[in-house]
């Protein structure tokens, strides 16, 4: 079968295509989170983007916060954005970054607009008009090459490396073959597997960079008195014998195509194909970074089950654990337990996942979208 299936998306001024058509209400720092949430609660069609911290952050930490908040608003799934700041400077900084995409963006600042009530009223008026305008945008023909897809795993168990991760990896290969971009991430998950990624790199430069990601991550941990290894006692009990084996199980979800590029947390890939994002590993932080880097959809492979999703990027939960797909049926979008039960092979199960992916790309809702199990988190400095 041809893997190039019709994809209809929302066209954006910068030529990108959204799979959703949100109006984002972006808080610049935690001090204004309540106002951003209040505005979003008043205006249907808006999504509040808020998280802890953001105020007075310095260096790499501060840059990552600004880049991620702006990146979520720049994501093609966002039609327009309202930035809510405490003061004009930080609000304008993020608004300017978003404006570079050509999409409508405005900002308000609580200190200069006359407090919370005025900010809420004025913000809600701006957001209302943004939603009215955005709702007139129609889906148009696009292709898989318009899509950046993040692959993630969380709540991993013995089934992840033999069912949901390889099925995700097969879909990743099909997406790359069709001209799309797939982002593999979670820096601590690749410890022990970096040589395999390096061998699979498109150039020696990329190979060196992926090795450097692991060296940097372990070195940073050592400075804090932590020896990072990916293999823990319950992994060994579950049958994993070496760091290479565990990392390979995780890396599988990126598929087998050459690694084209390494990008930083919430940085947009400049290349098509398989890309690695050097970002924090825990689920919520990582999916935030992936969407901040432009991923319109996330495929989230889970063994034991993890409900969390990104509010900006529809997050498809896939599990191969026969127990999880029953017990957590409210959360799991795609059941690939037929691999474990011996009823289907990986490619056959991957087709089910790919079909669901296309449904979601064309507007079909994920379970986490319906449940509202969505969260944003931006990490502090530690390389976890």
């Amino acid at each position: 079968m041809s893997r190039v299936q019709p994809f209809w998306g929302f066209p954006r001024p910068d030529g990108s295509m959204g799979v959703r058509n949100f109006v984002a209400i972006v808080a610049t720092a935690d001090a204004v989170n309540p106002v951003a949430r209040r505005i979003a609660s008043l205006v249907k069609g808006t999504v509040p983007i808020y998280t802890s911290f953001g105020r007075g952050m310095k260096g790499e930490d501060g840059q990552r916060h600004v880049r991620t908040r702006a990146g979520l608003a720049k994501n093609p799934n966002v039609a327009a954005a309202l930035v809510v700041g405490l003061e004009p400077k930080s609000a304008q900084e993020i608004a300017d970054l978003v404006a570079a995409t050509g999409k409508p963006v405005e900002w308000i600042a609580i200190e200069t607009i006359g407090g919370s009530h005025n900010a809420t009223t004025e913000g809600a008026r701006i957001a209302l008009q943004m939603v009215i305008t955005a709702s007139r945008i129609r889906r148009g023909p696009g292709s898989i090459s318009d899509l950046i897809v993040g692959v993630e795993c969380g709540g991993s168990d013995g089934t992840s490396g033999i069912a949901s991760n390889p099925a995700t990896g097969q879909v990743a290969d099909w997406l790359v073959e069709a001209g799309g971009t797939v982002i593999l991430s979670e820096r601590t998950e690749i410890i022990g597997g970096e040589e395999i990624l390096a061998c699979n790199a498109a150039s020696e430069k990329v190979a060196e960079e992926i090795r450097a990601v692991v060296v940097r991550t372990q070195e940073h941990a050592r400075q804090h008195g932590i020896e990072l290894t990916n293999l823990v006692p319950d992994n060994i009990e579950g049958g994993l014998s070496t760091q290479e084996e565990k990392a390979l199980g995780a890396i599988l979800k990126g598929g087998t195509t050459p690694l084209q590029e390494i990008v930083g947390s919430a940085e947009k890939p400049s290349k098509k194909g398989l890309v690695f994002m050097d970002a924090h590993s825990p689920g919520t932080e990582n999916i935030t970074a992936l969407a901040g880097g432009g991923a319109q959809i996330i495929i989230f492979s889970t063994g034991l089950g993890n409900p969390i999703a990104c509010p900006i990027a529809p997050t498809i939960k896939v599990s191969g654990n026969p127990n999880t797909v029953v017990e957590l049926r409210d959360n799991i979008d795609v059941d690939v337990s037929s691999i474990i039960k011996g009823e289907k092979n990986i490619a056959q199960s991957a087709e089910v996942l790919y079909d669901e992916f296309l449904q979601v790309a064309n507007g079909g809702m994920t379970r986490s979208e319906v449940l509202g199990d969505e969260e944003v988190a931006i990490s502090g400095y530690c390389h976890s």
Binding site: I236, G239, S241, Q243, G249, L252
Partner: protein
């Protein structure tokens, strides 16, 4: 139904997808071939067993990649785990 999986035709180990008893006969699909063999040890769910004889010091291959080296001779059907497989990274896990 399959009781064990290989993920790449280059693999010399298979992963049990159900607990296997000692001397149980299993059929493993390796690429396009179907291999019948008897497991020599009890194999818990998620654990590996050899589908070929592996020399002492030989690579153990899963997912089509070396996941470590054998620390003793491993016979077809034997359990492959931390007792006879060591990382190639030079750091003990």
């Amino acid at each position: 139904m399959n009781k064990a999986l290989t993920l790449n035709e280059a693999d010399n180990v298979a992963t049990a997808i159900t607990p296997l008893s000692q001397d149980e006969v299993v059929v493993v699909t390796v690429g396009k071939e179907r291999v019948e063999l008897k497991v020599r040890d009890p194999i818990p769910f998620g654990h590996k067993f050899a589908i070929n004889d592996i020399a002492d010091g030989g690579f153990v291959v899963k997912y089509g990649h070396n996941i470590g080296a054998a620390t003793s001779v491993i016979k077809t059907g034997q359990h492959v785990h931390v007792h006879n497989l060591k990382t190639l990274r030079g750091v003990d896990s």
